[in-house]
Structure formats: C-alpha cells, structure tokens
Symmetry: C2
Subunit: 350 residues, 2 copies
Amino acid sequence: MEIAYECWGQLSENRDNAVMLFTGLSPSAHAARSANDPSDGWWDYMIGAGKPIDTQRYFVICVNSLGSCFGSTGPASINAKTGKPYRLDFPELAVEDIANAGREAYKMLGIEKLNTVIGASLGGMSALALAILFPNEVHRLVSISAAPHALPFAISIRSLQREIIRNDPKWQKGDYNFDQPPTDGMRLARKLGLITYRSAEEFSQRFGRKRKFIEQPIEPAFSAEFDVETYLDYNANQFIDQFDTNCYLYLSRAIDWFDVAAHGGSIEAGLSKIRTQANLIIGVQSDFLFPLSQQQEIAGILESHGLKTTFAALDSLQGHDSFLIDQEKFAPVVRDFFSDYISPPATVIS
Amino acid sequence: MEIAYECWGQLSENRDNAVMLFTGLSPSAHAARSANDPSDGWWDYMIGAGKPIDTQRYFVICVNSLGSCFGSTGPASINAKTGKPYRLDFPELAVEDIANAGREAYKMLGIEKLNTVIGASLGGMSALALAILFPNEVHRLVSISAAPHALPFAISIRSLQREIIRNDPKWQKGDYNFDQPPTDGMRLARKLGLITYRSAEEFSQRFGRKRKFIEQPIEPAFSAEFDVETYLDYNANQFIDQFDTNCYLYLSRAIDWFDVAAHGGSIEAGLSKIRTQANLIIGVQSDFLFPLSQQQEIAGILESHGLKTTFAALDSLQGHDSFLIDQEKFAPVVRDFFSDYISPPATVIS
C-alpha cells in the first residue's frame, strides 16, 4: 500500500518529538500550510511555529487514511493484480487498518515511538486504536470528539448516508464511471453530514428563518428558499467533486464497525491496554453525533486506570465540527497539553 | 374540497363539548377505534370512554388534513376541471389552509365554537393557526410538540427529505405513475424521519450495537447489519405503500412555511390574537425536531398575555414521537386538562 503524508517541523535527534495526526472521514493529509504547499490546511490554526502544536518543538506527521482518496491506497486506487481500480474488491476496511497504516508511515520515517498520537472524529478513533494496539509506541494520546464505538443514532445517520449513495442509479454497485460518479447521492449524503456535523443552535444563530424574497412560485418546485437550504446546496456541491464515492462508503462503514470493546470484551477492557503517560480527551456539548458523554466515558476509564488524563468539555456551538472552527476554545486546551513534556525544544526548523 | 373526518362521542345539546383534533404529517383521521371502524387508531390510548379525552363527555372530531391522502382533498385527488389528479397543480398549501379546512368541517357539523382544539406536531401548528385566525371560536387550546415556526435545523431535515424524494427518477416532477411511485425516495426520506422523530437515547436503549451474526460479507454490499438498520428498513417500507408522494411534499413544506410571526409581525403579536380560556402546552425534553424551548416560548407568551396556561415539560424518551407512545407521561397531563371545565357530562353515548 501507499500512504500519503505531510509533515511539519523537524524530528529531534533522539526522535522523541513525533506527533502523528489522524484525520476525520474526509480531509487529506494537508492539515497545515507548508513551504511545499502554501495552500490552506484544514487545521492551520492548530499546527505551525508558535501554534498550539508548535512545530518549533514537535515533528508533526499527518497521514491520509488508508481507504481514502488523497494519495493513500483505497478503493479508487489501481489494483496491481488487475490493472483496474479496486472499487468494491478493496478489502474490508477497519479503523484498526487505518491505525496500522499510520504506524507503517512513522516506522518508515525511522520513528519507534510517538510522542503523541492525536485525532478528531474518525481520527480520534484511529488514535485510540493505535494506542490500544501498540501501547509501547504511544507516549501520549489526544482524542477529540471521538467515541469508543458508535451508538445506534450515529450508525443510523451514516447507514442512511450510505444507502442514499447506493440508491443513486449512477453508483452501479460501485462500478460507476469515474467521469460520471453518483454525484446526486453524494450531494444528498453530504447534506445529511453537514446537518449532523453542526448544531441546531448554530443553525438558528446563523440562518434563523431568513429566506429569498420570492414573487413567483419557486422553480424547480420544492427547491431551496431558506438560507439554510442555500448553505447546504453550496457546501454539498463543493464536496462531491473532491471525494471518491466508494472511499466514502468504506470509511463511513469503518466508523460504524469500530468498537474498543472488540479489544478485550468491553470498552473498559479495551482501554485498559493503553499505557500512555498523559491523555487529553476533548468533547463538545453541542455534538450529537459523537456526544460528550462518550468522551467522558473514555476519560473516566483512562483515569480509573491510573493514567494522567485531562478531560475538556467545551461549550462550542458548532457541534461535531467545532474542532475545525472554534479556535478560541480549542487552541488553549491543546496548547496547554503540548506545552508540557518536552523541553528543551528540539532543533529549531527553518 | 372534501374533508374526511371521524368522530367519537356525542355532541351536547348546547354544542359546547366539541374537541377538534388535528393530526401530524402522516396520520389519517382514524385516531381511535369506533363501532364503524374497530381497527387500531393512532391515538387509541387518548380517546374513548373513560380515556383522557373522555368521549362520554366530549364530542371528538379528527380531520384528515387538507392536502393529505386519506380522504381529504390533496395533490392526489382528481381535479374536477381536468378530470386528472392535481399533482403539482394543487394550490400552494399552508398550515392556515389546514386549519380553515378543519373549521369548515366543524361548521358543517353545526358547531359554532370549539370546546377545545388539540393537535401534536403539524397538528399543534394547525391548532395554533385556528386559535389565531378564529379566536372567538376556540375556547381552549392544547398544543403538543409543536412550534410557533420551524427553526433552520428542522427545516434542513425536511428540506433534505423533500430533495431526496425529488431526486428519485420515478418522481418525474410529480407526474409519477401511481402504480410505480418513487418508493426509493420515499423510503429514504421516511428513514430520515424515523431517525429524527425519536431520540439518540431511545435508540441506544432499544438497539445498542446489536447486529446480525455475519459469516460472509453481507449482500448487497453496505446493506443493513445493525439492528437499528433493520428497524429503519422495516418501518420505512411500511410507510411507503400508504402515503402519496406529492401529498408528503406539500405537507412537509407547509410545516416549514408556517410562521406565527406572519400574523402580526412577531411570534408575540401572533399569539396575542388568541383568546382562549385555558391552554395546555406540552413538550418533550428529548425532542430535537420541535425542541422543548419552543413549547416553553409558546406557553410563556400565552401566560404573559394573561391566559390561563399549563406548561408540561415531559422527560419522555421517544423524542418528537413521544405523544404517540409514552402513554404513562402524556395520559395524566391530558386527562387533568380535560377533566376540568365541562360538567355535568353531556349525554352519555351508547
């Protein structure tokens, strides 16, 4: 397999400052700007010189998840055996596979132990999986808006997204023409994502009941009138040109399948394998997809196992997406965590 | 227009015991069993002799909403001018139209004033509309899990449901073959309904992560594994044979359009038109489609206008659907309300 990654900062001589970042379902490895790629990263406020994850001290590696479509091997990649894309012949994908693939990346970079593994959403699940599977290679864990396993409400949302996509006649059981992918299904599934990634309160504050001024019956019938509908249209259409449909299906199902309890019979037993020196568990009150109670559960169990654990319950407004947006609440908590532990700073990068 | 209705109990001689019941989006007028139709009604626990709305005292009328497809005129009805179904030529439908149609029904029955208007969800909006439009004809109001207007989160859910349906190639811009309706779109839209009508906590308690035992890769790929997915399959498939698609679209949009603030410039001004003797406003903590805060808003304003108002915040688990299910919490509150006001009982029915 190939694993696409980006990195920032410089690996210290004793190789003890590596931070591996796993992503949510849809981002690429381009978490932050760099000299090689000065375009916006998806977590620019968090990673960089002087930022909460300070690249003057830490060597940050972000991997594109195994199964995704931004450089790492996934269902859209060419199967060397057939010379054609894997599509649904791609092996069943689990969060543990994503964790293992990330491990291959840091091993290849000559890193034996991570200073910290960090991730949000699916990335937080991947971080948990890595810490459970390779406890001796993970010194610290940061899990943001993740879960020890998905609850049935979140499963039902993702299951519906997958069914909406499968129902698009263009999906063709995965054998769609790459020039004519099932964009209708992807657009509708993405809209459901956008609705569930934020919060009702944020929608109320942003959009209220604002709407177009309409003199004539709207065309086509039943199409967007309210600002919230226009927002969903715009953002869903942005997404569908970027993301491969089969990759989306594989990654979405991996989230539903993941279960810490599979590593020992219970969540408690699974988390008991973790041997970190310190943990930071962050959740958001307005997140109804990965609810705060699940972060509390993780933190409580880690603490009960005698691990030094900080639990941060943030009152951000943006629901599950808060870590991408609410810099004001997230930056200080992450900064505090990373300001500890390693001093003096590693070699300053240029 | 034709308005289908059912009634229970007997109208008192001075015609002061009539209770008009408006329904949510999908039910028929068959709210309770009767001699004419002994099949299960959708609110059997609430309506009948000795039940919370006691038909030994009250004359209960339930109307099938204008725009629906269970006997009342709607988009699936034949347009006398063309001899064909209205489909999208049906006039734009507002909640106020549903309220007006209900009024025509009770007028036709010789009733000048309602003892009580009652409704849940869309039915609660219809009840509010009637009380605002005809304050002298409504003595008492019971609004359950309704809203003075939809907030953008709920609008986004319903908008997505409508788009999923419109996106079904069989919808044909409303001109579908009635023998081959857009069942895929309806099934998916209904699943989104089922997810949002309940609560995450109820799903957790009912389904947890229970799933089929799977030896082989599941076929078709990505189809139901978890019990919550099987539940959605079963219940959505039950619905799609019953409900006309265009009717669904019209009623769904009517909910989004409804705005008490359209009756005077603000919710406060709209509700100030109500002249009831007593009100009962019920909401449920786990309802995220018509959140409790909106019931509180209605109750607070009515009370501030000097109207006798009971506000009941129930901690039912079943979200927006609680009024259909949680007999234990709902029955006493409704019984208390209806036990007041009229005595002695009207003529006892056989």
